[in-house]
Every structure is written in structure tokens, then in C-alpha cells.
């Protein structure tokens, strides 16, 4: 069964450094998402992406964040200058186009630790 994959599984970085989290969505999916979960808190929506542009973003997704689909398979989340409070588990998700009740399939997550 096809799955969403994410790399790396764990990323440690210094405050102020740039990080890129990578996701490979399910191949026939065209809707992509990023969520994050700070330890002990809720899973929070960051951004949705379709047709090479952001469809919706939350208040968390400020100018330090960007997303890109650099090729036909990858979907990336970049944090330009990481802060301590960016430490969280980041989940990528994808869904099929066209159906309103389309299920979002989640990746296993990348644990980002900012020191």
C-alpha cells in the first residue's frame, strides 16, 4: 500500500540555522499539507498546497516558513532561521484531488530539535 514518506526522521539543528524537511506524498495525490505537533500539544495545521501554490496557511506559518514542490515527487518545508519554539514533530500529509471528503494520509513525521 502506498505511503507518505518523510526524511529525515530526526533533525537536530542550532538556533538560527535553516532546515529543510522533506516529504514524498503518495504518487497520485495532488493536495499536500504540513502539520506540526509541539510536545504535549495538539497537532496544528501549518499549510496546504495545490497546483504549485499555497492554498491556505495558518497564523503559525509566518515569513520564516516556506513550502516548495521542487520536482514531481518531493514536497518540502523550509524554516529559514529556526527558533527554539520550532522544536516539534512535523507531519506531511497528502490527499487525492477532486473529492471533498478526501482522506488526508499522514507521513511518519520528522522530529525537529532546535538547540
Amino acid at each position: 500500500e502506498p505511503e507518505v514518506t518523510q526524511t529525515p526522521s530526526h533533525q537536530v539543528t542550532q538556533m538560527g540555522q535553516e532546515v529543510i524537511l522533506r516529504c514524498v506524498p503518495i504518487s497520485n495525490h495532488l493536495y499536500f499539507y504540513w502539520y506540526r505537533q509541539i510536545l504535549g500539544q495538539k497537532v496544528e495545521f501549518l499549510v496546504s498546497f495545490y497546483n504549485n501554490e499555497i492554498s491556505e496557511k495558518s497564523e503559525i506559518f509566518d515569513d520564516q516558513f516556506s513550502v516548495e514542490r521542487p520536482d514531481g515527487s518531493n514536497f518540502t518545508l523550509k524554516i529559514r532561521s529556526t527558533k527554539l519554539e520550532d522544536s516539534a514533530m512535523y507531519f506531511c500529509a497528502s490527499s487525492e484531488p477532486g473529492r471533498v471528503s478526501n482522506e488526508q494520509f499522514f507521513g511518519p513525521g520528522t522530529r525537529l530539535t532546535v538547540l
Partner: protein
């Protein structure tokens, strides 16, 4: 504002006992609700959605618009049901089909032998 509330952080039952995981929501539009499950060291996966009105692994959930609830129930819990359960509400912007999910904080269910 959209909100999903799961009042219980932890829930423990014995095998064979009924289990109910509570979920309440607030949403101004017509809600679309889901239960996701995360087994130990695994990814979030969809358990069921209210529009399907299905039973998955013996679990059911009924949307009660009057009480703004979507509680997850199973009449006889099994040890393999031990997991983190998240209730989620899908919010759609006008003209969009992508939607964003609002999650509750999750309930950790432990089923003892």
C-alpha cells in the same frame, strides 16, 4: 471559531469492557468529523469519518449536532486497541476542497488484559 475538545487525556479500561472516547466540537458551518488513531511508533491513520457511518475495528461514532459531539465507542475493548486517538474537524474555505484539520489533544487509551 473552530475547536475540537477531547476532555480525557488518558483512559484505561479492561479487556472486554465498553469504551467511549469523548469529542466535542465547535464549528459554524456543517461539520465534517474524523477519528484518527496512532498506534505506538506508527503514523497517524484514519479510523473513521462521520459521513461514512461505518464501523471500523468494532468502533463507531455518531455525529450529534444538537450536543456538538462525535464520541467514539466500542462495546468490547481489545488489548490491540491501546493507542492514541485524535478527533479531528475538517474546515473548508469557500471554493476550496483541500480543507484543514483541527485536532483535539488526543486521548491515550490503554486496554488492560
Amino acid at each position: 471559531a473552530q475547536r475540537v475538545t477531547q476532555p480525557e487525556k488518558l483512559l484505561s479500561v479492561f479487556k472486554g469492557a465498553p469504551v467511549e472516547l469523548k469529542c466535542n466540537y465547535s464549528y459554524s458551518g456543517s461539520p465534517e468529523l474524523f477519528w484518527y488513531v496512532q498506534y505506538s511508533r506508527q503514523r497517524l491513520q484514519l479510523l473513521l469519518r462521520h459521513i461514512s457511518r461505518e464501523s471500523i475495528k468494532g468502533f463507531t461514532a455518531d455525529l450529534n449536532k444538537g450536543e456538538t459531539s462525535f464520541h467514539l465507542k466500542k462495546p468490547f475493548a481489545q488489548e490491540e486497541d491501546s493507542a492514541m486517538y485524535y478527533c479531528a474537524l475538517k474546515s473548508l474555505r469557500r471554493g476550496s476542497t483541500l480543507g484543514r484539520l483541527y485536532f483535539g489533544r488526543g486521548t491515550q487509551l490503554t486496554v488492560w488484559p
